[in-house]
Symmetry: none
Subunit: 141 residues, 2 copies
């Protein structure tokens, strides 16, 4: 969570710094300000779309609600396991979940194994069925 926020914050800072450099050394005296701002706006719009696409399947509660899947807090599964379960519920592959959570495929597998143990199942679809019965997963209205 925090690591991801820091990562993108850093990325944003770097981009801003880069833009400032570009501005001072190359463009400021040759391109009009409106055009320059337009480029920045479009650039960050694209970045935003990219980040949004990448995050839409991640575990943030806000984005989760956009995906109409809600993971309910529970004592049984740990936070990370809930994240993984949400990915499964969204239909993501293990690799996709790993990419979203910024961990390795093996880590996701381990979490999933633990989920299966805790839910007493042996397949992701079984885990989904059981999790829904237990109200761990609910559909957003």
């Amino acid at each position: 969570m925090i690591r991801r926020a820091l990562f993108y914050g850093l990325l944003l800072s770097i981009l801003l710094a880069g833009l400032k450099l570009v501005q001072y050394y190359f463009f400021s005296y040759r391109i009009e300000l409106e055009f320059y701002i337009g480029i920045i706006a479009i650039l960050f719009l694209v970045i935003g779309v990219w980040a949004g696409s990448k995050w839409i399947n991640s575990q943030s509660p806000i984005l989760e609600s956009l995906d109409s899947i809600t993971i309910n807090a529970n004592e049984l599964l740990s936070e990370r396991e809930m994240d993984v379960l949400a990915g499964i519920a969204r239909g993501q592959s293990n690799q996709e979940i790993a990419d979203c959570l910024f961990v390795s495929l093996n880590t996701v597998k381990t979490h999933i194994s633990n989920i299966y143990m805790k839910l007493n199942v042996s397949r992701r679809t079984q885990a989904l069925a059981k999790a829904r019965k237990m109200n761990l997963i609910t559909e957003k209205a």
Copy 2:
């Protein structure tokens, strides 16, 4: 698709125009340029995330039509395909579904492939997520 692109293009244009106005009439002489650009960058980043999320969630033509048109769910998937989909939703393996329906494993695979084609997905968990969104699958007491 095209309509959506036009919509967001228009939105972008309006926002750019608005920013230009703001720039000329309020901020240009009071706030430093770097700060101003940073605000724009963040603003469009947020817009991008929002738009990206929205876009991702309405990728499917089927889901789009659900917004305005009432679709008879039974039209899309055949009876047998619904049987198989139910098995998937129950968490059954392909072999278990085959046993339940008294058909071969290959037949189940074929049905599943057809389901994936019709739902435009490539994994059973994706099929579940999509089918739930389309209300092909609903929870019962």
